[in-house]
């Protein structure tokens, strides 16, 4: 399944060639991909092929430089508008229903959590974003520490912030949080308490100008 953006007509031969090599040589492991010509390339790979893809990228495609690994929680925030600025309420009222369902970004996705990693090939200067789905039941993926040792701290961070397990990681200790901390702060259903208790004073910054104010509109 391809969803290459058609908007800019820039040809991006280097990235297209890379994409073709990756999709043909990895076969079914690449579930979906997305190419923004002249900007960036995304591939989404199968969860169980994550390590295999990492090895392939490092050894065969010379993506020797590991940039980062993290995760995305695609659940829309259950705290809704209280998490956003006041101005959002004013001109964003129509999007309430749309916010209910979960939408994944580039290269799609079927699960709530996704792993996001980035590697570079220093010879061609190209970066590649690798995504992988994390199923809610297993909540785990194989570790990249054997391929890129630098992934170790990133995986510990993703483990404590999102609760994702990494099989094969030598020691998934908490990196930042104290030992008795409960919960995974970067999950969307983890409330930002400070914001719930007291509205953000910065709302003042986006307050409507006196000329824009219309008492009738505000009432509705």
């Amino acid at each position: 399944m391809t969803d290459t953006a058609e908007a800019p007509e820039v040809a991006d031969e280097a990235r297209e060639a890379l994409l073709e090599a990756v999709t043909s040589e990895l076969g079914d492991a690449v579930v979906q991909h997305h190419l923004l010509p002249g900007k960036d390339l995304w591939i989404r790979v199968a969860n169980d092929a994550f390590t295999e893809v990492g090895e392939y990228l490092k050894d065969r495609q010379r993506f020797r430089y590991f940039s980062y690994l993290s995760a995305i929680d695609w659940l829309p925030s259950p705290f809704g508008r209280s998490h956003e600025a006041m101005a959002d309420e004013a001109d964003d009222a129509g999007s309430e229903e749309e916010a209910e369902e979960m939408v994944s970004g580039y290269a799609g996705g079927d699960t709530r959590f996704q792993i996001l990693a980035r590697v570079y090939n220093l010879t061609t200067g190209l970066g590649l974003n690798v995504k992988a789905d994390i199923s809610d039941d297993a909540m785990s993926i194989s570790s990249w520490t054997g391929i890129y040792p630098g992934a170790s701290w990133h995986e510990r961070e993703a483990h404590e912030m999102f609760g994702i397990g990494f099989s094969g990681h030598p020691n998934l200790d908490a990196l930042y949080l104290p030992g008795d901390f409960e919960g995974n702060p970067l999950r969307k259903d983890f409330p930002l308490l400070a914001r719930l208790v007291k509205p953000w004073p910065g709302i003042v910054d986006v307050e409507l100008m006196p000329s824009d104010e219309n008492p009738e509109d505000q009432a509705s």
Binding site: K39, D40, W42, K58, R64, Y65, F66, S67, Y68, S70, I72, D73, S77, H83, E84, A85, A87, D88, D91, D92, S95, V103, G105, Y106, L116, R118, L122, G125, G127, N129, I147, Y148, P149, G150, S152, W153, H154, M161, A174, L175, Y176, L177, P178, P185, L186, L192, R195, W200, G202, D205, V206
Partner: protein, 390 residues
């Protein structure tokens, strides 16, 4: 008679035991040394738990989180213009450099491009940030190796750069000057000439440091061959900036991943050093300060005329999409992965900070080194705790 021989026997046993005890005390069973959380070598509060065998480190385990402020979570409840205030505080010595990649990523999503003059101003302030940052590094490096003088020169001469920063942006440390679509303001009158004078002072400082530190035999003895990072290992740990260029890897995002800023309009060189040790990393940083001075001077001479802001709506909404933009910050690759769902606030921001990766090599690097070298190695990796913990 038996009593005397018994007593002798007892004395003999006691002496044996005492000797054994002394031997036990001399035998190095290993000890655990806590370095930090408050050590001058750490630019913040980092704690390293090191297991020692005599003077040798068997195992080092960095403990972070003393400065974790949860910026990735906070960005989800801030509008895009408000986020720059937060990211200023990630790497507090190079604040302006933190703003730029975030703004560039947001601009990429909005498909806005800042006018050339704004790009020039950004690049100049970016490089001034680098000069101020690395100047302090050079002074700090000395003080951590026991040379107290360089740090006074560093603070004295960095002040010239900070003054220029303040004159242009109003903030010495946290300029908060970059805007989506351009920059807040143009340079004040007379700023360009003053900046050129400041750059001359920094050049003198570099020459001074080269004599004081790099020409110093003790400095060379304490840094050469210490903390050697082979290029392959460095790459797989994701090292960037002078740390990877000090290992002979010719990779600089300013040249290799152009993002619209004005670096391509100046003549400059990416410095590398093949040795990969603490000396190489420091030497590369010294050359980078000089190179930055030359970039700023060239850009100041070729300022394009024109507006400093593109046309941007008053309430900034970023269309749905994802973008990753990274720039070569003083510490290395600093990037933001922005996921937008089309609202006023980002849906998720992954902050890829240079120090996090640069520091993640430390358990590997510190293994087998000696205690005095631990400080040298940490100083030469050069990290800012705010940049690790975010």
């Amino acid at each position: 008679m038996t009593a005397i021989s018994d007593r002798r026997q007892l004395a003999y046993v006691a002496a044996q035991a005492a000797e054994a005890r002394v031997n036990i005390e001399l035998e190095t069973e290993g000890m655990t040394l806590n370095i930090g959380p408050q050590h001058p070598a750490t630019h913040g509060t980092l704690r390293i738990v090191a297991r020692l065998d005599g003077e040798q480190v068997i195992d080092a385990y960095p403990v972070m989180g003393y400065m974790h402020r949860g910026y990735e979570k906070l960005t989800e409840v801030r509008t895009y213009p408000q986020v720059t205030t937060l990211v200023n505080r990630i790497d507090w010595l190079g604040s302006f450099c933190n703003e730029v990649p975030f703004i560039l990523a947001a601009e990429q999503l909005m498909e806005i491009e800042a006018p050339p003059r704004a790009q020039h101003i950004r690049t100049i302030l970016f490089e001034l940030g680098r000069i101020g940052h690395l100047t302090l590094f050079l002074g700090d490096l000395g003080v951590q190796l026991g040379a107290v003088t360089p740090v006074f020169y560093a603070f004295r001469d960095r002040e010239h750069i900070l003054n220029q920063m303040e004159a242009a942006t109003g903030g010495r440390f946290h300029p908060n000057f970059d805007r989506i679509g351009g920059v807040k303001d143009d340079f004040p009158a007379g700023w360009i000439a003053e900046t050129k004078q400041s750059l001359q002072k920094i050049r003198d400082f570099c020459n001074l440091m080269e004599d004081l530190l790099f020409g110093n035999e003790i400095f060379a003895a304490r840094t050469r061959g210490i903390g050697v990072i082979p290029a392959d290992v460095g790459l797989s740990y994701g090292l960037s900036g002078a740390n990877i260029r000090g290992s002979g890897v010719d990779w600089d995002l300013r040249r290799d991943a152009p993002c619209g800023l004005a670096w391509d309009q100046a003549e400059w060189k990416v410095w590398t050093h093949p040795d990969g040790d603490a000396y190489a990393r420091s030497w590369v940083r010294l050359q980078e300060v000089r190179e930055s001075c030359s970039i700023v001077e060239q850009l100041l001479d070729n300022m394009p005329a024109g507006p400093i802001m593109a046309k941007v709506p008053r309430i900034i909404k970023v269309p749905a999409g994802e973008a990753y933009v990274a720039t070569e910050n003083p510490l290395g690759e600093m990037g933001y992965y922005i996921v937008s769902k089309g609202g006023l606030t980002p849906f998720r921001v992954k902050i890829r900070s240079a120090s996090f990766n640069n520091m993640s090599i430390s358990p590997w690097l510190l293994k087998g080194t000696y205690v005095p070298d631990v400080i040298t190695i940490l100083a030469s990796l050069y990290f800012i705790l705010g940049d690790i913990d975010r």
